[in-house]
């Protein structure tokens, strides 16, 4: 290889993508996405109603996960039926709209982990997306928010939780930098979320004992901290067995906590015990154990190891396959997209589409509502600064990915109210005060760095009081009521009523603002092909189209300012001066429209061209072409009126041409098609060049620049301005002389 580097290769090495490492598969370390060479052949042997061999192991060789799955995870009747089906037959049913979801879910109960992985690996990316759409548990997709900040400021937590709720997130998760803060953070997001929209479920990701205690006090309603791993050594390193995790899940349920397990490809390799198996196979083991434990759902799709999975060939496809497997096993799926997947925005969003387009129960397992710098989950794949992109992607694809557009004034109002509500609760409970400065900064600021520092020692003491004195959600309700936040008090109380009826323990439950529980039981996904299942249409589609920065086309093309900038004199005739240059403008120029696409006043543009013609020694004459809006015809009609045969044609949006009477209309001397790039100097130069052509002098073209983004930026304005000009055109109308005051 030559020592000299290609500048293009060097340039590409500087791109964001190259900050991460891509590797070739290394199966021995578990660094293989799917179809690993050491994955076991699927097998199942049943004697007298018990599993004696599975996926290449005899029962005596079963590890703790095998034992759990063999004991609780396989329906032996279905297994006998599934044994008679070929892998590709089952795979085909996953994408066959004529085979109902319930039927393929039933079949999944008879499959071993190796077989589950094998069947799903037969699907290509588009088939996986389709299967995910069909297999999702709940009819409508939803989304989960992450709400944290570096200062653990309660006013900011409440404001962000309120905004998340207002934007339609069904769940809000927080965590802590300092674990003793947990009770205050839980209170802040509970109050904030219920201020934004009643019914939003909340959790505080902390150690299990603390988490359970917060739940008992009514301060959180769900948990997704129950992690599961696909090999025994990693499971045990996580200080659990499948039995202890399953017991913990029942314990949470007994306290009215919705539980979602967590698993995801890459964790076993990262922790050094993948046992030579592929990520998808190990995830299939996790998911089989999770269903066997009786979990209603899972957060999966690699989660925190996403960047490791993406280092491998087929990594993005493997992650999608994990989500499909979970949905196929009838689990609620919160489909990752929370940890940063890549430095490359292109790659990150390409990965997202796997879950975004089919829709999952929670498209992300944590969309960072605040700026990334305040995300203490170590994540923020998408954050507060990306919100408008997310909303626009929903609008582009006509897809509901669970986030609603909200006007700025409404967001500000709700943020302030939530900050004030938590201020009142803190005051009522005798906690360190939330100051006016905090409320204001939480309402209007960008991030926690805009907030004053709090007395953290005093906050921690208050947090300890919450646990020691068993301060409960009812105490919060009373303080809210006393301070006049009656609706918020009612919403927090409504969440307590939900704990009593426990309806949200069913699969994929979310709570509507009116308290209705929507789950896979009451609102199941029954997609069976075009026209069925959840479709973004009607009012919801109207809502998701109405982005605050969408403009009314009527307003884009209406003139501002008073009176026309030119006056029309009389019908234009053919000139007889050989030094004459006609400046021919379009039907709307200086009348229905007043400025070019980049905001140059039409009168200034005309003066610049006139000056240019004068400077070069020719005589300008102003004419309006009324019959056509196309720049070629405006210019050519002008040229035919011109004594010299040369004219400058000007459209209202600023596109220009130098034309000559003896040329075909669509030919020209010089065309200036990049109107957004022209300054008054450019128009003056056009006048000079036109004059030189008229006087028969040698001419170099007017220098122009190139902006490849001009089209993307301005094509809408171009279309609207041209439509306005065209609307002013009158077929057959005579040209008129213009006077520039």
């Amino acid at each position: 290889m030559s020592a000299r580097r290609s500048e293009r290769f060097v340039s590409r090495e500087g791109r964001a993508l190259r900050r991460e490492l891509l590797i070739s598969p290394h199966p021995r370390l578990g660094l293989v996405a799917m179809d690993g060479p050491n994955d076991p052949e699927p097998s199942l042997e049943v004697v007298d109603g018990s599993v004696v061999a599975m996926d290449g192991k005899r029962a005596t060789e079963f590890d703790v996960i095998d034992r759990f799955v063999a004991r609780y995870g396989i329906d032996l009747d279905v297994a006998a039926e599934a044994a008679g089906l070929a892998d590709d037959d089952i795979a085909r049913r996953l994408v066959d709209v004529d085979v109902p979801r319930a039927e393929v879910v039933r079949l999944s109960r008879g499959l071993t982990p190796a077989r589950l992985a094998r069947v799903v690996s037969l699907l290509d990316p588009v088939e996986l997306m389709f299967a995910l759409k069909k297999l999702r548990a709940r009819r409508a997709p939803a989304n989960q928010a992450h709400v944290t900040n570096l200062k653990e400021n309660p006013a900011l937590l409440a404001a962000d939780a309120a905004e998340a709720a207002l934007r339609g997130f069904a769940e809000v998760e927080t965590t802590v930098g300092v674990s003793r803060y947990a009770p205050l953070n839980a209170i802040a997001i509970l109050v904030g979320s219920q201020t934004g929209r009643p019914g939003v479920m909340t959790q505080c990701a902390v150690e299990e004992r603390r988490n359970l205690q917060l739940a008992i006090q009514g301060l959180v309603t769900y948990a997704e901290t129950l992690s599961v791993y696909g090999t025994e050594p990693v499971f045990v390193d996580g200080d659990d067995t499948p039995w202890s995790k399953a017991f913990l899940a029942s314990a949470y349920a007994s306290r009215g906590v919705k539980v979602r397990f967590t698993s995801g490809g890459g964790s076993e390799a990262l922790m050094g015990h993948a046992q030579g198996c592929s990520m998808l196979y190990l995830e299939a083991r996790c998911l089989a154990a999770i269903r066997a434990a009786g979990s209603q759902g899972v957060q999966n799709g690699s989660i925190s190891c996403v960047a490791l999975v993406l280092s491998l060939p087929g990594g993005v496809r493997e992650i999608l396959a994990e989500n499909v497997l979970a949905a196929w096993l009838d689990l609620e799926v919160a489909s990752g997209n929370d940890a940063i997947a890549s430095h490359s925005e292109i790659r990150k969003t390409a990965k997202l589409m796997g879950q975004f387009l089919p829709g999952t129960d929670f498209v992300t397992s944590g969309y960072s509502v605040m700026p990334r710098e305040d995300n203490t989950f170590g994540g923020g794949n998408y954050d507060g600064d990306d919100l408008e992109e997310w909303l626009t992607l929903q609008r582009d694809w006509q897809v509901d990915a669970g986030i609603e557009p909200v006007a700025e004034d409404e967001v500000v109002r709700v943020r302030e109210r939530a900050a004030r509500a938590v201020q009142a609760v803190f005051a009522g409970l005798g906690f360190p005060p939330v100051t006016e400065a905090e409320v204001e900064a939480a309402t209007y600021g960008y991030a926690s760095r805009d907030l004053p520092d709090r007395d953290r020692a005093a906050d921690v003491a208050a947090a300890d009081r919450v646990l020691d004195e068993r301060i409960s959600a009812l105490d919060v309700v009373r303080e809210l009521h006393a301070a006049g936040f009656v609706d918020v008090a009612e919403a927090v109380l409504a969440m307590q009523r939900q704990r009593v009826s426990a309806d949200y323990l069913q699969t994929a439950a979310v709570i509507e603002p009116d308290g209705t529980v929507c789950s896979a039981v009451s609102d199941p996904n029954r997609y069976e092909g075009p026209g069925t299942g959840y479709r973004l249409e009607g009012e919801r589609w109207e809502l998701l189209q109405r982005l605050p920065y969408v403009l009314d086309p009527e307003r884009v093309s209406s003139p501002n300012g008073a009176g026309p900038v030119v006056s029309e004199a009389h019908v234009a005739t053919i000139g007889d001066r050989p030094d004459e240059v006609v400046i021919a403008v379009g039907p709307a120029f200086g009348g229905a429209l007043r400025e070019t696409i980049n905001g140059l006043d039409h009168a200034d543009v005309l003066r610049a061209v006139v000056d240019g013609v004068h400077e070069a020694g020719a005589t300008p004459r102003l004419v309006r072409i009324r019959r056509a809006s196309d720049v070629a015809f405006i210019g050519h009609d002008g040229a035919r009126l011109s004594g010299s045969g040369v004219a400058v044609g000007l459209q209202s949006k600023g596109t220009a041409v130098i034309h000559r009477a003896d040329l075909q209309p669509l030919d020209n001397l010089e065309l200036f098609g990049m109107s957004p790039l022209y300054s008054l100097d450019s128009y003056r130069a056009m006048g000079r060049n036109a004059a030189a052509y008229a006087l028969g002098e040698a001419v170099g073209p007017v220098p122009t620049t190139l902006d490849n983004f001009a089209r993307a930026k301005l094509i809408v304005r171009t279309t609207l301005l041209h439509a306005r000009e065209t609307a002013e055109a009158v077929p057959g109308a005579e040209p008129v002389e213009l006077v520039l005051p």
């Binding site: 034992r67 200080d239 913990l248 029942s250 699969t507």
Partner: protein, 143 residues
């Protein structure tokens, strides 16, 4: 009217008549006024064993056998003190308990705590831990 797990979900909306707090309050008695007047105890805001058994029946009817099992265990645990639950959870973690200790928990769940399903579950856990060397190190099962 008898409870029908196929049509009575969500209970809170469709069968509020069947939903009570542990002390016997109905959902509509959990009003803001009652809370402000101090008539509702925070400890009372939780699902009863009966409600959890009904949710278990709903899950079973929807075809979710294992979720139904989980909720049935939860129904048993609803009346078990939180500290006891956390002790049992800890006992089930790897290398925490001897076989005898786990059997003692199973027996206690079965007799004293009225939780036969949980007791059975703990026994199965004990057998798995014994087979995989996950009991406390001073009493591993012979391989």
């Amino acid at each position: 009217m008898a409870f029908d797990p196929a049509s009575d979900y969500p209970l809170g909306a469709r069968r509020p008549d069947l939903v009570r707090t542990p002390s016997g309050l109905a959902l509509d008695e959990l009003s803001l006024d009652a809370v402000v007047d101090g008539l509702v105890d925070a400890h009372d805001l939780r699902a009863t064993p009966e409600t959890l058994r009904r949710q278990s029946a709903v899950a079973l009817t929807a075809g979710r056998t294992r979720l139904a099992d989980n909720l049935a265990r939860a129904a048993e645990l609803a009346t078990v003190p939180s500290e006891t639950i956390l002790e049992i959870y800890t006992a089930l973690r790897p290398h925490r308990s001897t076989a005898a200790e786990l059997e003692a928990w199973a027996a206690r769940l079965e007799t004293e705590l009225g939780a036969p399903r949980c007791a059975e579950f703990v026994r199965e856990a004990a057998a798995a831990c014994a087979a995989r060397g996950l009991l406390r190190v001073d009493e591993r099962a012979p391989v």
